[in-house]
């Protein structure tokens, strides 16, 4: 659920920025909050554009728990496919150049 919400939020934020006419080039986008999630989590992996996959090496060190139920795994994959489709359709592109991160400092 949080994984999907993160994708949803980024899409909304990108749309909001794109509709802020005349401001896209100069607006820094500061994203703050606890995201109701841990620094090592699927949510943060969305913000860092990590590839989803059972065997991928994630910089956030996030990985699916071995005991994850199949239904939940299928849901993760479904959401990730949705994320990839949206990315391919440039739905997140208004955020390009606006995201900065303090992640490496923690």
């Amino acid at each position: 659920m949080k994984f999907a919400q993160a994708v949803f939020f980024l899409e909304k934020a990108a749309k909001y920025l794109s509709e802020s006419k005349g401001m896209q080039e100069s607006l820094p986008f500061i994203c703050g909050g606890d995201f109701n999630s841990l620094p090592v989590s699927s949510v943060l992996s969305v913000f860092y554009g990590e590839d989803f996959g059972d065997d991928s090496k994630q910089p956030s060190a996030w990985s699916l728990p071995e005991s994850i139920p199949q239904a939940r795994l299928d849901l993760y994959k479904q959401i990730d496919q949705m994320r990839m489709r949206k990315a391919k359709n440039d739905m997140f592109s208004p955020l390009a150049g606006h995201l900065r991160s303090a992640y490496d400092k923690f």
Partner: protein
């Protein structure tokens, strides 16, 4: 498989802990931001926090320390989560520190009563609020109409604000 551009490739690490610097006009501007989950009073119970003493969970004990933490941070932008006790504490205290505050959804939504909300507090002397938009994260359930996992409680919000830095414009 060809992947679309990654967000990671779009991200620029900042150079100071919890401080975000960027270039606006020709002048570098240093912004001090703070994100703070203050723990809603309604959730400060022994059931949720068995390692804390009753005194530590008491809002009368925590509240002045939370405000002092915010004051000492020197942040001009504060992102708050799990905010309750707004009318009888936070609103007045934050304003006394020079903040204006934009709150997330408050009260009931879809017949569900919210326990707490989010807020963006900004120093009025440094920032001018241009626009704000609330995002109902519960809308994500529209993507998964037949999945009960996406039935959320009330007031699962995010918030977007456009703030103009007064000095750098």
């Amino acid at each position: 498989m060809n992947h679309p551009p990654r967000f990671r490739d779009l991200v620029t690490p900042i150079d100071v802990n919890q401080k975000c610097s960027f270039i606006s006009s020709s002048h570098p501007v240093l912004i001090h931001v703070m994100s703070y989950n203050v723990l809603a009073d309604q959730l400060a119970t022994p059931d949720f926090h068995p390692l804390q003493t009753s005194q530590e969970l008491d809002f009368a004990f925590r509240a002045p320390r939370i405000i002092e933490e915010i004051r000492q941070s020197g942040a001009s932008l504060v992102f708050l989560q799990e905010l309750d006790r707004i009318d009888d504490f936070y609103d007045e205290k934050l304003k006394s520190l020079g903040f204006s505050v934009v709150y997330g959804q408050r009260g009931s939504q879809d017949g569900k009563k919210a326990k707490h909300t989010i807020a963006i507090a900004y120093q009025s002397s440094e920032w001018l609020l241009i626009d704000q938009e609330l995002i109902d994260l519960g809308e994500v359930k529209k993507w998964f109409l037949n999945n009960d996992a996406f039935e959320l409680g009330a007031n699962r919000n995010a918030m977007l604000c456009i703030l103009q830095h007064r000095e750098s414009n």
